[in-house]
Amino acid sequence: MSKFRKSGSKETPAISTASLPDIVFMLLFFFMVTTTIRDVSLLVKVKMPTATELTKLEKKSLVSYIYVGPPQKQFVKIYGTEPRIQLNDQFAKVSDIPDYILAERASREEAEIPFMVTSLKVDEFTKMQIVGEIKMELRKAAALHINYSSRKAETVK
């Protein structure tokens, strides 16, 4: 009779999952593009201090990292609890820093070298002596542009 009479059963049809892979792929590509995979595992504990006057590190590829802090639990037996320096994936001495900087420079394009930044990720409770020595080595290696890595202070005045 009526043109609009519903035919067949009244069950709601199942939602088509044919487009599910497409949606997931879209998400996948998003994450693949935005990802920067952590390439070092931290051997030292670093709890960064807070600060308010932060600048973002724009080009991650131009940043070399120096970690300083007390060794993680599993290394305490070997290295003790005093703050240590970590370069790449191993513990290092202050005297290793110039070589590290040179190696970092060698792995970049020549035109990019003046824009390189050294990011110091130092634990809050480290004594300044070790930091002072690092800064001296960096000055000797002419890696003058540094960034004291820190967290954003939550309470803003």
Binding site: V24, E53, T55, K127, M128, Q129, R139, L144, H145
Partner: protein, 192 residues
């Protein structure tokens, strides 16, 4: 010709999900940020005693940090919270006080004749100072300069410092220089 059977694509979603979960867990989204500083250049080794004239006492804002994380500014103990105001007062010298730094009128493009301070902030820490304390002091000093620049640019251009063009920024930087010098740290007291 025989038709090749179609590859079932039902498991496609599962595969994609697996990859997706891998990338989600491996991602670190946090942007690295920190306090940016430029270290002074190493003096050439064969340099004789430098012949730069000594800086006058009133032009130096001395900030000392000892091994017990105490802060001494211009000979007085001070809390970190008060450092910013003190540093701003030093840099601006609003009342032309005798004890605060001299100013030198300088011709700056876009701004005209501006009294530029000759003040230098000198920061010295002990070998035993904690890094967290050192950084918060650095932060306060940088904040003082940034606030002054912001105030000055609002007054001159009606905009915040970050929103200025690069020439305007250059002018503001010249009008309010950021001279924070770090002296060689000392060990005060025998304990290392």
């Amino acid at each position: 010709m025989r038709k090749t059977p179609e590859i079932p694509s039902a498991s496609m979603a599962d595969i994609a999900f697996m990859l997706l979960i891998f990338f989600i867990t491996a991602t670190s989204m946090d942007v690295d940020s920190g306090l940016e500083r430029v270290l002074p250049q190493m003096p050439p080794e064969n340099q004789e005693q430098d012949d730069t004239p000594p800086i006058k006492e009133r032009n130096v804002f001395s900030v000392l940090l000892d091994a017990n994380n105490r802060l001494m500014v211009e000979g007085e103990l001070l809390r970190v919270e008060d450092l910013r105001e003190k540093a701003k007062e030093f840099m601006m010298n609003p009342n032309n006080s005798e004890h605060l730094p001299e100013t030198k009128p300088t011709e700056i493009p876009l701004l005209g004749n501006i009294d530029v301070t000759k003040g230098v902030i000198s920061l010295r820490n002990d070998h035993g100072t904690q890094y967290g304390m050192y950084l918060s002091v650095q932060n306060e000093l940088v904040a003082a300069v940034n606030e002054l620049r912001n105030e000055f640019s609002t007054q001159k251009f009606g905009k915040k410092y970050e929103d200025l063009t690069s020439e305007q920024k250059e002018a503001i930087r010249e009008a309010i220089p950021s001279r924070i010098s770090e002296a060689e740290p000392k060990t005060i007291g025998g304990k290392k």
